[in-house]
Amino acid sequence: MTTETTTYRERRVRSLAFARIGDFASRWTFMLPAAIIMIAMLAYPISYMTQISFSRFDLMTFSPGEWVGWDNYAKVLADYRFWSSLRVTAVYLVFALPLQIILGFGIAYLIHAEWRGRGLIRGLFIIPMVVAPVVAGGIWRMMLDPLWGIANYFLGFFGIGPFDWFGDPNLAMASVVIIDTWRWTPFIVLIASAALLSLPRDVFEAAEIDGANWWQMLCYIALPLLAPIIAATFVVRWLGAVKMFDIVLSATLGGPGAATKVINLFIYEEAFRSLRFAESSAMAVLVLVGTTILTGIFLWGSRRLENEP
């Protein structure tokens, strides 16, 4: 009698365990393909790179050799070119992102109205964004050409220039910012237009009745209401901008000198031109950690703004 109940209970426990395993398996099957690819192509390379960054890299066998501790990191941190390329990247980010966001929201605010051509404008505004960055760099390289470029020709109408866009370090940086801004501002205009449409109208009407002028409405009503979307747009652009590589490669090649050599291009050249894989891995690890921390902070900040009423 007692044995029978135990076996019954055991069987029940066992079948429950099977059901649970089956359930677990059926839940995770959905994750499996993505997880396998992401582990093999993302997690594994990153861990392999970390290993290389702590080793001497043997070019004969093309694999990491003996363990050297923090040597590669010390070498990289003592390399002025590393710091210079970080500074270049920071300058690009500090100029490009605010410029794109201000221009994008500004244009959206200016053209914000209900009219028939909106759909068409939206369709046309999406085009610069899907131009491959390498092509964007190429077109602008042609348009900004100091001798034959159409940019200097247009600027000539206003009595400005001619500029040697790729010869002067500051102008070269400016042209990288211009190209990136050209590619991304329309996208921000689209997001901002949608955001403006979703703003509550009665608040603006009430403010207008109370005698608020255009500037006050912008500063005290529109901007605070738009803050979460502006923050989110910033995060999206940040995620794209840390990948800056193609435009620089095709437009300025990092030049003149190293004036536009952003960190991604510098690491690329160190690894694949100079074959210094250990040092470039150390740099890549540093950049990876840095961007991940900053991305985390920005995401957290933008979430907080969004959740605040």
Partner: protein, 280 residues
């Protein structure tokens, strides 16, 4: 009263003009590229720049021959379609799991996916190249397809997660009560009704893969080389001087198909770019 209406109309007209002007400014570089690609060499290098010229196809027929465009176009199509399909299947399944199935650690996976979008590709390119070389996988389409999945899967996952969250739950619950497995319910019920969204995501993913440069530079050589590499090669070629005819011809070939597809899925494309940060 009339003045108010008048000023309203004026504001409206100004808005429309500003919009049109902005549009023209942003589209001009592309128009200029397409125009230049049909110009004779003598019309390209004129001052002032000319808008009226006798069109020629010489750059498309002769100028781009060294760039091996047909071969590279074929590679780009293979890689874009392959990585697009693979990441849409894997990403949609994972997105469904995040949206509907209670998995322990789903929150962590979501955060990891988001953070992975901030990984600079050069940090992956270095080790990927070394591993691919070790395994003899450089210059193969499959390597590039898998490499592109690293940024396409998180993108698809996030987009489809949002889409699945908005679907009514009763659909697959009914199917599962009728004896469908979870996987069966997904493929028989969810996939068919999500087909438009999946297709748009696929096109958006293929566009992203089409334009990728860094992984292609690092992981391919000749055999699997893609069209952005041709573009980078011409743009950097300072030895032969400014070959603007070939530059703009290759640029036009690269951009036109993408623009056509992008216009088809414009709404989805913007949403996909924006959602990564705004939702979750």
């Amino acid at each position: 009263m009339t003045t108010a209406v008048k000023s309203f109309r004026w504001g409206r007209t100004i808005r429309i003009w500003v919009g049109a002007l902005a549009c023209l400014t942003f589209l001009f570089p592309i128009i200029w590229m397409v125009l230049t690609s049909f110009k004779q060499q003598t019309d390209i290098f004129t001052s002032p720049p000319t808008f009226i010229f006798a069109p020629t196809l010489i750059h498309y027929l002769e100028g781009i021959r060294p760039a091996e465009v047909p071969h590279r176009l074929l590679n780009t199509v293979i890689v874009a379609v392959g990585s697009g399909l693979l990441s849409v299947v894997a990403g949609a399944m994972a997105g469904y799991a995040l949206a509907r199935i209670k998995i322990r650690g789903a929150g962590t996976i979501g955060v990891l996916m988001l953070l992975s979008r901030g990984v600079p590709p050069v940090a992956l390119a270095v080790p990927m190249f070394l591993v691919a070389r070790k395994l003899g996988l450089t210059d193969k389409h499959i390597t590039l397809i898998l490499a592109y999945c690293t940024f396409l899967i998180p993108y698809v996952m996030w987009l489809m997660r949002g889409f699945f969250l908005a679907l009514p739950k009763e659909l697959e619950e009914a199917a599962m009560i009728d004896g469908c497995s979870r996987l069966g319910a997904f493929f028989r019920i969810i996939v068919p009704i999500s087909l438009p969204a999946l297709l748009s995501t696929l096109i958006a993913s293929m566009i992203l893969a089409w334009e990728e440069l860094l992984f292609a530079l690092v992981l391919t050589n000749r055999n699997a080389s893609t069209i952005p590499i041709a573009m980078a090669g011409i743009a950097q070629d300072t030895v032969n001087g400014a070959n603007w005819g070939a530059l703009t011809a290759v640029g036009t070939i690269t951009v036109v198909p993408v623009v056509v597809f992008a216009l088809l899925v414009q709404k989805w494309l913007i949403q996909g770019m924006a959602d990564g940060a705004t939702k979750g």
